[in-house]
């Protein structure tokens, strides 16, 4: 006895205005009677507080009351009989209810450390009190409405940065302080989710050889707990752009492909917000670094120089796809 959901799109991406289509596939050894087949689509923002800037008391609470985005239910079949063998029951379900305006926010699917925005579709076959009801659940992915999207192409917003021994607030190795270094470049601060983060970087001078230059993509999840906003910043992806002591005064490209699902458009909602940052980390060659091979790359160390800039992610129209 099995029941399965299959969506019409293999990537399971739908927009709120689009109908959610697919089929329910049942496989039974013998025919069964049921009291109705019901589909439920459900969207929630789940939040929890853990680590970050949360205090002890907030941590004890753990979960924060989830925010419901949508909850729709329809009966696909009224009570009846399902034959033995494989049955396919097609369905189509509108996500955004007619009559409602577009103000109801359909946040994009996101899976973070503290915040998770998830959409699920569930099928239930109710078989009365005597039999266990059958059900199956599947996640589907919501991307923003086409109508709400920014008109492509997105205006490129870049920020110019300089990293020198003087811009660093944390203690540096003495040879870094005395020898000095200067790394300049620019990087986008607003970026379409479909495009890579763009930019360039030049090592103008460095007395100490460079070991590596990495770009960290960070997400900042903020949750309102009571009166307090709890922040947590975590690394989503690290991308190395220089391996070893690269040539001076040669422009290196910054090209970071954004990971799917781990990113979403920057959101500022009442009870929560999701923001992103880019951090440029210069790792200088030092014997000390070998003593801490597994340390958190965000921790400012003596042999690191870094610069963090905010990054606004937006959803744009797909043009080529």
């Amino acid at each position: 006895m099995s029941i399965e959901l299959k969506l019409s799109r293999s990537n399971r991406i739908y927009r709120p205005s689009e109908p959610l289509e697919g089929k329910i596939i049942t496989k039974f050894p013998s025919s069964i009677y049921h009291q109705g087949i019901r589909l439920t689509a459900n969207g929630t923002v789940n939040m929890q507080v853990r680590g970050g800037t949360a205090g002890v008391i907030e941590s004890l609470y753990g979960a924060v009351k989830p925010v419901s985005i949508m909850n729709r239910s329809v009966e696909v079949r009224s009570s009846g009989k399902l034959g033995s063998g494989t049955n396919e029951i097609p369905f189509s379900m509108t996500l955004r209810q007619q009559g409602h305006d577009n103000s109801e926010p359909f946040y994009e699917t996101f899976h973070g450390a503290n915040i998770s925005i998830q959409y699920l579709i569930t099928v239930d076959i109710n078989r009365g009190y005597l039999h266990k009801s059958l059900s199956a659940t599947m996640e589907f992915i919501i991307e923003s409405e086409k109508g709400n999207l920014h008109k492509a192409p997105l205006s490129p917003e870049m920020v110019v940065f300089y990293i020198t021994q003087d811009t660093q607030k944390h203690p540096l190795l003495p040879e870094l302080r005395s020898g000095g270094f200067r790394i300049s470049g620019k990087i986008s601060t607003q970026c379409s989710l479909l495009d890579p983060i763009d930019g360039e970087l030049t090592v103008e001078a460095s007395a100490v050889p460079i070991r590596s230059i990495d770009i960290h993509l960070l997400r900042v999840e903020s949750v309102l707990v009571g009166e307090k906003i709890v922040n947590e910043t975590s690394i989503i992806q690290t991308t190395q752009i220089a391996d070893g002591d690269v040539c001076r005064n040669m422009t290196l490209p910054i090209y970071v492909v954004l990971p799917r699902l781990l990113t979403c458009p920057t959101v500022f909602a009442g009870p929560f917000s999701i923001e992103f940052q880019v951090s440029i980390v210069i790792n200088f060659r030092s014997d000390l670094s070998k003593l801490h091979p597994k340390s958190d790359p965000r921790t400012p160390r003596l042999w690191l120089a870094l610069e963090t800039v905010p990054l606004r992610l937006v959803r744009t129209k797909r043009d080529s796809l």
Binding site: S10, N11, P196, I210, I213, D214, Q237, T238, T239, Q240, I241, A242, D243, G244, D245, V246, C247, M250, T251, L252, P253, Y255, V256, V257, L258, P259, R260, D287, L288, K290, L291, S320, L321
Partner: protein, 920 residues
């Protein structure tokens, strides 16, 4: 029995073909010059398959390039891809072979994928911790593991299989993860000499992954989920032809790869699936520029060079496109070398040389790719961009020329481009003097390129002036020789100035004091051979300053090869008369001969020099001073005494000398005797008996010609004794040998016709002797015996004639026809001898065990008898018997049998005897 009477003159007249007088010898060469210029007939109907294909390839290099270019542009993309794949495969093979590697490799801990857990001896964690506190350096060393080369390779093969299996099990994530681990291996450049091998192995894995991804996405584009075909993508599909789902999958792949943390594996993986950009963009190569830029982040020059190499390879799989980024690649590698020069100052030049040699294949391949698809028009542009040609906007200081880059550029450029810009390249070579490549090798390469397409006279002058300024600075013989050798063809082509003198002076200055190293011999040999083949006359070569002197410092096989060329040259231009030349050639031959004698070269290899020496001996001509010539031959015997072939030549020469002396009509009896004596002394030392016999016969003929009857008799005796001693030579005899013997026996018989019989011993003394030897030797086959009998019968018949068919060309020797003129006992002796032989003949034929052989031998014997004897009661039964044998043994359609029977019928008509019934 009765001998047939023969009228040889009438027979000759009736059997010979009509003859015409001719003014020219059809085979004679009229003059050596015309021989070269024989014009080919305008219309050659002959289809020569080799020539036809040759013509295709003979198009100039430029045209070749064009053709290639067009075909790339054309639709036959598939074949081009296959071609480049093949080229790449052979390149990879050479890459792996080029760098020899120690058996074990120390790899850093980051290549953990290679070292399976538990395979190496891990230290207990507490100890590591202690050491860590102790000394951080130690920890770094602890990360290094030793593994054998074989283990490394087999582990990589295992990984490849694992990836393949994971893919087939639809577990693509694992396949990708493993591929990333494999690509990560290339980050460890500390393996140095092993790096090229690692590169080949890793890119093999990546190529496989790339192919699998390509196939998968293509399948997604062509088939629906349930396996029905949606469309078929043409070879040159556009991104718009690709379905949304396929694009989505493709995009996912690039996203996955984009999230790889480390730069180097990320670039390699993207290159591996680079072709897949075609599903997303119509101009996929635009992404290559970004990748080239990204490679700037690879600080390690070795990793960077090979990464660029992989890019050049992967870009070949794309449809034809602008390849400007390859120039950027080369410049990037160049910058690394320049920086390397600065940073590696502390290192020894050996280390630097080695690291450059590791880059070299990458540079070579990229330049090959670059020039392959660049047409002539844009070459100038390429040169400017590579910093090889100064431009108003781009000063060449920014990226100065690097000699190794220049080297590969020269190597790959079409020769006509090099040729028309020769001076410019000369300057570039002059400017680029760095550690990455030896300057003189670039000069050499330029020379070789110029020889392929020799520039105009004016340019050549300037080039040669320049190059001779350069080589004059070289102290080492090796550099000097290599460069000079490369330009020699041009010098010889234009026959310019007295460069030859300068070159030989230069070589002699450098070589004659210090001697020649073995590595230098090859160049020296090449130079000498070029000189020898350039001049028509050996004397012109010998007249060159220092030629002989330099020749003397050469040794070994190079020396032998040059010697052979000298001999070849000398013996091809007519007789050798100049005493100095002769003396030199004698020394050369002697050296060559000793070379063969002392080094136990295989027989096949020694044939060529021996032929040349023989030819030299034959071509020597002392004119009227024949005594000197004979002395020369004696000298030769002393020098070349250990070789059969040469001794044979010497005997031939002395015989020739004797005949020449006789022809000169001045009667030198003593000289003649000396020549014969020379032959007589020389022949026994030849180890092959059958050759001895032939030479004895030849000498006997000469002696006969000179009227020296007693000498002739002695020589004939020696020849016959050779026949006797044949047995002892060796046990197994091939049929060829037997044929040789029978022809020698026949030759002997024909010679005997001219030799006056010895009245004391009887006219048939010698044939009897021969027969007794033949019958006494156990190894002699029946066939040989029968043929000998036939020959002896023919000899007897001929001797019985009142007029012999030919006589010795000497008035002093009287033929048997005159000597025994109508002497009845003489004829009786011949007849009785013959009849006994005929009887033996019949017996032998009957005993031949092989049926087919018996048949044909019977016919042979029958023919011999018919032509020797008159038909009568004694002869006819014998003939009938023989025909009967032949009839029973041979096929009825045998043509020999038919013609014999026919002849026999005609023959019997003349006789009274009844013709035997012959059923055929």
């Amino acid at each position: 029995m009765e001998f047939k009477t023969r009228d040889y003159d009438a027979e000759e007249a009736s059997h010979s073909l009509p003859r015409l007088q001719t003014d020219f010898h059809p085979l004679v060469v009229q003059s050596p010059l015309e021989q070269v210029d024989i014009p080919l007939p305008k219309k050659v109907d002959l289809y020569d398959p080799l020539r036809a294909s040759d013509a295709d390839f003979a198009v100039s290099v430029a045209e070749g390039k064009d053709v290639e270019y067009v075909s790339i542009r054309g639709s036959s993309n598939e074949t081009v891809l296959q071609l480049s794949a093949k080229e790449w495969a052979s390149f990879k093979r050479s890459l792996m072979q080029k760098f020899s590697v120690a058996k074990t490799i120390s790899i850093s801990s980051m290549s953990d994928v290679i070292v399976k857990s538990g395979k190496e001896h891990e230290k207990p964690p507490t100890r590591i911790h202690l050491e860590e506190l102790d000394d951080p350096q130690k920890d770094a060393e602890a990360g290094v593991k030793i593994i054998t080369r074989q283990e490394y390779v087999s582990r990589l093969h295992e990984l490849k299989d694992e990836i393949c299996r994971a893919w087939q099990a639809e577990d693509r994530v694992t396949a990708l993860k493993l591929s990333i681990k494999v690509a990560r291996l290339l980050m460890d450049t500390s393996v140095l000499q092993f790096y090229p091998t690692v590169f080949v192995l890793v890119t093999d894995v990546l190529d496989m992954l790339g192919d699998m991804v390509w196939e998968r996405i293509k399948r997604r584009a062509e088939y629906a989920d349930d396996g029905t075909m949606i469309c078929s993508l043409p070879d040159d599909f556009k991104a718009s032809d690709v379905s949304f789902d396929a694009k989505e999958t493709c995009n996912n792949w690039f996203c996955k790869i984009g999230s790889i943390r480390e730069l180097l594996p990320r670039i390699y993986l993207e290159l591996a699936i680079f072709c897949c950009w075609r599903f997303l963009h119509d101009r996929p190569w635009e992404n290559l520029k970004r990748l080239v830029m990204m490679m700037r982040g690879l600080a390690d020059p070795l990793a960077s060079a090979y990464c660029h190499l992989y890019l050049a390879r992967c870009s070949q799989k794309l449809p034809p496109h602008d390849i400007g980024y390859l120039i950027t690649c080369i410049n990037a590698v160049k910058v690394r070398i320049i920086l390397g020069r600065e940073s590696m100052n502390g290192n020894s030049s050996e280390d630097r040389k080695m690291s450059v040699s590791l880059f070299e294949p990458a540079i070579g391949w990229i330049i090959k790719c670059l020039l392959k698809d660049t047409d002539q028009m844009r070459l100038g542009d390429v040169l400017v961009k590579l910093g090889l040609r100064a431009n108003e906007t781009n000063s060449s200081v920014e990226s100065p020329c690097i000699s190794i880059v220049l080297h590969h550029l020269l190597k790959e450029l079409p020769s006509e481009v090099v040729s028309s810009n020769a001076l410019e390249f000369m300057q570039l070579i002059e400017c680029s003097k760095d550690y990455s490549f030896d300057q003189y090798l670039n000069y050499m390469l330029l020379g070789l390129k110029l020889c392929e397409r020799i520039p105009l006279m004016e340019a050549v002058d300037a080039i040669l002036v320049k190059i001779f300024q350069v080589v004059a600075q070289y102290d080492g013989l090796n550099e000097y020789l290599k460069v000079v050798d490369a330009y020699l063809d041009i010098i010889l082509h234009y026959k310019v100035g007295d460069y030859l003198t300068i070159i030989l002076d230069g070589i002699s200055d450098r070589a004659c004091n210090k001697g020649v190293a073995e590595s230098e011999l090859d160049s020296l040999q090449s130079i000498f051979i070029k000189l020898l083949s350039h001049f028509d006359n050996l004397n012109d070569v010998l007249a060159l300053n220092h030629f002989v002197e330099i020749l003397d410092v050469m040794y070994g096989s190079s020396r032998n090869i040059v010697n052979m060329h000298i001999l070849n040259k000398a013996t091809r231009s007519g007789y050798i008369r100049d005493p100095t030349t002769m003396q030199l050639l004698f020394q050369v031959s002697q050296a060559l001969h000793d070379g063969i004698y002392f080094s136990s070269i295989k027989d096949d290899d020694s044939q060529q020099p021996l032929h040349l020496i023989s030819r030299f001996v034959q071509m020597v001509d002392f004119g009227a001073e024949m005594e000197h010539h004979l002395t020369f031959l004696v000298e030769c015997r002393g020098a070349f005494g250990s070789t059969n072939e040469l001794k044979e030549t010497l005997v031939h020469s002395s015989n020739y000398l004797a005949v020449k002396a006789m022809k000169d009509a001045k009667k030198h009896d003593s000289f003649l005797k000396s020549c014969i004596a020379f032959s007589e002394v020389t022949i026994p030392s030849i180890s092959v008996t059958i050759r001895q016999m032939n030479l004895y016969l030849e000498a006997a003929e000469v002696a006969l010609l000179g009227g020296l009857v007693s000498h002739t008799d002695g020589l004939i005796d020696s020849a016959i004794s050779c026949l006797q001693s044949l047995e002892v030579t060796n046990g197994s005899r091939t049929p060829v040998d037997l044929d040789g013997i029978i022809s020698s026996v026949r030759k002997l018989c024909s010679l005997l016709i001219m030799i006056p019989g010895n009245p004391e011993c009887g006219a048939t003394y010698i044939p009897r002797n021969v027969l007794s030897i033949i019958s006494s030797q156990s190894w002699i086959t029946r066939r040989l015996k029968i043929r000998t009998f036939c020959a002896v019968i023919s000899l007897s018949t001929t001797l019985s004639q009142h007029k012999l068919p030919y006589h010795a060309n000497s008035r002093e020797i009287v033929g048997n026809d005159l000597l025994f003129f109508y002497e009845p006992s003489y004829y009786q002796e011949l007849l009785s001898f013959s009849s006994s032989v005929v009887q033996n003949l019949l017996d032998e034929v009957k005993q031949e065990p092989n049926q087919a052989a018996r048949g044909s031998l019977a016919l042979e014997a029958c023919n011999c008898i018919i032509s020797s004897f008159k038909a009568n009661q004694e002869i006819v039964p014998i003939c009938s018997k023989l025909i009967e044998i032949a009839n029973s043994c041979l096929h009825t359609n045998n043509r020999y049998l038919h013609s014999t029977v026919n002849y026999l019928e005609k023959y019997f008509i003349t006789s009274t005897t009844e013709v035997p019934a012959v059923t055929t």
